[in-house]
């Protein structure tokens, strides 16, 4: 009866903690430098920043090191850290025309003002393993040619604005008085407004956002967009100066922004009542460099604008409740916790049902004998 009412739970978890640490180090060698993870695992760090919802490459790199490279676990650590940090101020909205671009392409037009800038993209890479990396001892790449920075600093017009000027693209409907929702400080109740939906989507797990977006593209939904623009670059973070009340730039964040042109619909101008046909817009914006997630997000943004959902991907609750990896991994993992009590309750029910069935069966056969 040694395992009845097992004691020593504390020793067990402390030992497990020690073993985890042992497994992290057991192969010996030199401990990874956090700066190496930060510098050379750029896209992995970007994933943690985006899902962890905290723009800190350094904290993300430490979390990755601590979790032996498990991105889900690492982004959980980052989010949990985020919960303990008080909010001191809000940034003010910035226009993404101000983005310092490293990449910008459009698949809607052959050429766009300022041109297509392919930038650091793996889109056309040959997916061949470069075995020479195994023996790489030092980096051998030349820095890119310097551009005239003043030229790059100028705001770059949006492709969708070109369509807007012609009255072919919906204008965003917004109430200037309305403050954006904050899903980290306000309870979630459905239907969620668009600012809250975009926040749930941008923190969503890469793979989940991708899978839901893909499902829509395949026909479980009606969004099959043309990409107006993919932009990757740096956006300034501005706050209002506490005394002077003027905007001050306090830093910059790398983001990926996608604007998708979706199917057109009949729109009524709220002021004039005039009817016209316009394209609809899907918007994706994620921390870091992650184009597939931003594109999938833009599809989901549009799909979730549906007033009368006809597929699961257009259903806010279905998508937004299942897209967050903190929630999904936590709940799936909880199945490993003891369920002795509830399972005992289920055993009681199944035995009781079986007993009743036996009773009825015996009664019936007895009746037969009497006949």
């Amino acid at each position: 009866m040694g395992y009845v009412g097992v004691k020593g739970g504390k020793d067990a978890i402390l030992n497990a903690e020690e073993l985890v640490e042992y497994y992290r180090c057991r192969k010996g060698g030199t401990p990874l430098k956090v700066s190496q993870i930060e510098d050379q695992m750029r896209l992995l760090i970007d994933k943690i920043i985006s899902e962890g919802s905290l723009y800190s490459p350094r904290v993300s790199a430490i979390a990755l090191k601590q979790t032996e490279g498990d991105p889900m676990e690492a982004s959980y650590l980052v989010r949990a850290f985020r919960s303990t940090v008080p909010r001191t101020c809000f940034s003010i909205p910035v226009k993404s025309e101000e983005m310092f671009l490293i990449r910008r392409i459009s698949s809607s037009f052959q050429n766009i003002p300022w041109g297509q800038v392919i930038g650091p993209s793996r889109d056309y890479a040959q997916r061949l393993i470069r075995f020479e990396l195994e023996d790489e001892t030092e980096f051998s790449v030349d820095p890119p040619k310097k551009h005239d920075e003043s030229e790059l600093d100028e705001p770059v017009e949006k492709v969708v604005d070109y369509l807007r000027k012609q009255g072919l693209m919906q204008n965003p409907q917004k109430d200037p008085e309305q403050k954006p929702y904050d899903i980290t400080r306000q309870p979630i109740t459905f239907p969620l407004d668009r600012s809250a939906r975009l926040q749930r989507l941008t923190r969503g797990e890469d793979g989940a956002v991708l899978a839901f977006g893909y499902a829509s593209l395949r026909g479980w939904g009606s969004v099959h967009p043309t990409i107006a623009e993919v932009r990757v670059g740096y956006l300034p973070v501005k706050i209002l100066h506490p005394y002077w009340k003027t905007p001050v730039t306090v830093g910059k964040v790398m983001v990926t922004e996608v604007e998708s042109i979706c199917s057109f619909s009949k729109t009524t101008d709220p002021t004039t009542g005039e009817e016209s046909y316009m394209f609809t817009l899907g918007y994706g914006l994620v921390f870091g460099h992650n184009e597939r997630k931003a594109i999938a997000m833009s599809i989901l943004d549009r799909a979730l604008c549906a007033e009368h959902p006809t597929s699961p991907i257009e259903d806010q609750e279905f998508v937004l409740y299942h897209i967050d990896n903190m929630e999904s991994q936590g709940f799936i993992s909880h199945l490993k916790l003891p369920h002795y009590v509830s399972f005992q309750s289920a055993l009681d029910r199944i035995r009781s049902i079986a007993a009743k069935r036996n009773e009825t069966a015996t009664d019936a056969s007895e009746e037969k004998e009497h006949v």
């Binding site: 009845v4 739970g9 949990a80 919960s83 109740t189 009590v341």
Partner: protein, 274 residues
Amino acid sequence: MYNFALLDENSKREIRRSVLKAIAIPGFQVPFASRELPIFYGWGTGGLQITLSLIGKDEILKVFDQGDDDSVNAVNLKRLIQLTTGVEVTSDTQSATLLQTRHRIPEQTLTSDQVLVLQVPMPEPLRKVESRETETARMHAEKDYGKMFVKLYEDVLHHGEITLSSDYPVLVFDRHLMATTPIPRWDVPKLDQAENLFLFGAGREKKIYAVPPYTDVEPLSLEDYAFRVEDFSNKQCVFCKSTESYLNEIPSPEGAGQIYACSDTDFCQKNRNQ
């Protein structure tokens, strides 16, 4: 590095406000902006956020999981709370002021100066019959629980018995249908007209609800199919010989049959000491 009880003071105050609202409307699920904690969603973060928001330096804390104070998850939660608050921890149900539990209410009756915080995985009792929250919100608002009764009726029709085992739905204050976290049916009658306050926290699902002291809590049933608790007749705990506690069945180490042991380890230990 971290604040007392981990969360920043504004967050704790915000959670306390949701708790107050929950007490004011017994059985109603109050949505709140649930935080990510250093333990996984689904592992007690709802209960933990309530505990962390209520806890003071003089609190005496008990945390137990499936009735067991030494269960790994209970130990882990206690470790975190102690690390960030330094409060006294006990396994003694009687002397604890704040108790956090997963899926059990202690066998020993709680008193008016004790608060029991329950960890909740699925706060929506109607989820079994309706997956959309917008729709369940409407059903609660209109006290439209017909679908749930149909479920009970169909159970009887197909299986000759109500199949709901743990997490048995109850009607609170004759108004709101409420999920019972899953505690076993054995514990459900303890919610009715209790002296103590019950707080329910669902972290992942972002809801808080409450049963205040001396509130009517009635398990859902059909006129001819009454609610009944788990049947442990002719069974007793191998350790304390109790016949009056919820028992866990354990496949016999000898290979044939089974033995039974109290799920509430504190209750069992006290019985043995007597």
